[in-house]
């Protein structure tokens, strides 16, 4: 047998390295540079160096903190609902053998479609004058303004839950199916109740999968943009202004790109913390 060709390892990786460097490293470095300047699209000939000013400015930037708080609320709320629902559905599907593939295929479908379509569908479904859902709720005496100031962010969470519970279901069901059978049989022989089996065996054994699913979904929920763009555009007031939408507004509506870049870098730090957590939780397996 020939010796493994070591240089081949690097030659095979070269195209990927070159392309990723071009499409990712360059933007990362350039936006770090932008974030240190007063970079405005309307004043490209006069770009001033500002040092850490953009970053320091964020500390007192009320809108930025509102956007961060809104996004955190959204992520925690949406991901918890998705987790509880997704786990319940995964346990259900794991038990029901009949038509399992059929149920699974349908239940997973929302996660494949474009979020802007989901946003617009629900915008009309929940619209106070035109929507089917408020119409029928009204008939049984419930009057809810889904996109009013109190409920708008929560409604966006519900929409996110509709679209992304399938992701939790997919991951957790795969996790359940890969668990060894022996501990469950042993527990059943010993007469343990289903609840005890769930708490003492299923949950601990599922822990790594749960962690990975939560972090990946959390990272993704952080990027929420389409629902906000399709439905509320940040309003009413700034109750649904999320961080990505805020950056989009500051960078591409107000053209203050330096400020937008510094916000994006704060976002990167948050992302990296979560990604590192993901790395450790995956490595422990």
């Amino acid at each position: 047998m020939q010796k493994p060709d070591l240089s081949l390892q690097y030659r095979l990786m070269l195209p990927l390295a070159v392309v990723l460097l071009a499409v990712m490293a360059y933007p990362l470095i350039f936006s770090a540079w932008i974030s240190l300047h007063d970079y405005r699209l309307t004043r490209l000939t006069d770009v001033q160096f500002r040092g850490w000013q953009n970053y320091l400015g964020l500390i007192e930037n009320q809108q930025f903190w509102t956007a961060i708080t809104n996004t955190m609320t959204f992520v925690v709320g949406a991901v918890s609902m998705e987790f509880v629902l997704g786990f319940s559905l995964a346990l259900l599907l794991h038990r029901v053998r009949r038509f399992q593939n059929f149920y699974r295929a349908i239940l997973l479908s929302p996660m494949f479609i474009t979020p802007i379509a989901v946003g617009l569908m629900f915008r009309f479904l929940l619209n106070i004058q035109l929507g089917v859902i408020p119409h029928y709720l009204d008939k049984i005496g419930i009057y809810v303004d889904w996109f009013g100031i109190d409920l708008a962010l929560f409604s966006l969470m519900l929409i996110d839950t509709w679209q992304w519970t399938p992701f939790m279901l997919l991951m957790l069901l795969a996790g359940l199916e890969s668990l060894p059978k022996a501990p469950f049989e042993a527990a059943r022989v010993d007469g343990a109740s289903p609840w005890l089996i769930f708490r003492r065996i299923t949950l601990p054994m599922m822990r790594p999968v749960i962690l990975v699913a939560l972090i990946i979904r959390g990272l993704d929920a952080f990027k929420v943009f389409e629902y906000v763009y399709a439905i509320t555009r940040g309003g009413p007031g700034d109750s649904t202004e999320t961080i990505l939408f805020h950056i989009y507004k500051v960078g591409f509506r107000f053209f203050r790109m330096g400020e937008a870049a510094s916000m994006a870098y704060v976002l990167i730090v948050i992302t990296l913390i979560l990604v590192t957590a993901l790395y450790w939780s995956m490595k422990r397996r």
Partner: protein, 276 residues
């Protein structure tokens, strides 16, 4: 006693299935509603409570024959196909290299980390670069932007597929006189063809579904389908009917192909943390 136990098992299963059917209804309702809306005549579109009406093809005709949507579909197709081809070309050899040669867990993981990067950080410099190259409002910009997330995902996907091919296969080929590289593309690549297809489909769907980058980088003739859909956002009834059609055009093909890749998805999304 035995018989009763059996019966109890069956009723509880029926109960569980009815819960599943409720979930099914919640998932399917918006799809059904959007389909029904697309068939409504314009004057009924804004009326929530009408389920029986004379089916009208006018929305479909307007969208397919008198709007820009066909152009948007072509744009989205071109962007998706070109992005995926580039991603496969660079991702495939790299994934093989990751799978076969010693690479640290951290290097592997950096591929996944690349996919997690928030789009906000990429969009500013990409926009400025394209602006200076006068490539704003062209498909090249979107392709470039989509490469930032399609390449990592496709590569990550493929590592898993290569991992599953036994090493004996290329050992045998090399004994028969192939170089290692020949063994890779003549023996291993054909074996992972289903994996390539799954990765390609998944990468394509990600590109097809993106609106954030396309919203900023395209306009006019170069709009992709999701951006065009967002353009129907007025509340006038007629627009709503057309929007329903455009939404269906965007989601139905994806739903169909998704059924074929579902079983491979866990690996692609869970990044090796979960194995089937």
């Amino acid at each position: 006693m035995e018989r009763f136990q059996h019966l109890r098992g069956r009723t509880s299963n029926l109960f569980l299935e009815s819960l599943l059917i409720v979930a099914l209804a919640v998932v399917l309702f918006p799809f059904v509603w959007i389909f029904v809306t697309s068939l409504k005549p314009p004057d009924l579109v804004a009326v929530p409570d009408v389920w029986i009406f004379e089916i009208s093809g006018i929305n479909w005709r307007n969208v397919l024959l008198e709007s820009n949507i066909p152009q948007n579909i072509i744009n989205s197709l071109v962007v998706g196909v070109v992005t995926v081809l580039i991603a496969l070309a660079v991702g495939c050899p790299a994934a093989y290299s990751f799978s076969r040669f010693k690479s640290s867990a951290a290097t592997r993981f950096s591929i996944l980390a690349a996919e997690m990067m928030p789009p906000a950080i990429m969009i500013l410099p990409i926009f400025l670069l394209l602006y200076q190259l006068s490539l704003i409002d062209t498909l090249w910009g979107v392709i470039l932007a989509h490469l930032t997330f399609v390449i990592p995902v496709v590569t990550w996907f493929l590592i898993g597929f290569f991992d599953e091919v036994p090493r004996e296969l290329e050992d045998q080929a090399m004994i028969d006189g192939c170089t290692h590289f020949q063994a890779f593309y003549k023996v291993i690549l054909p074996v992972v063809r289903p994996g390539l297809a799954a990765a390609a489909i998944f990468g394509f769907v990600l590109s097809w579904n993106d609106m954030f980058y396309a919203l900023i980088l395209t306009g006019g003739e170069s709009k992709t389908l999701p951006v065009a859909i967002a353009g129907f956002w007025t509340f006038r009834g007629v627009e709503m009917g057309k929007m329903a059609v455009a939404i269906l055009i965007a989601i139905v093909p994806v739903l169909i192909v998704s059924f074929f890749v579902q079983k491979h998805l866990v690996r692609g999304l869970g990044g090796g943390a979960v194995k089937y």
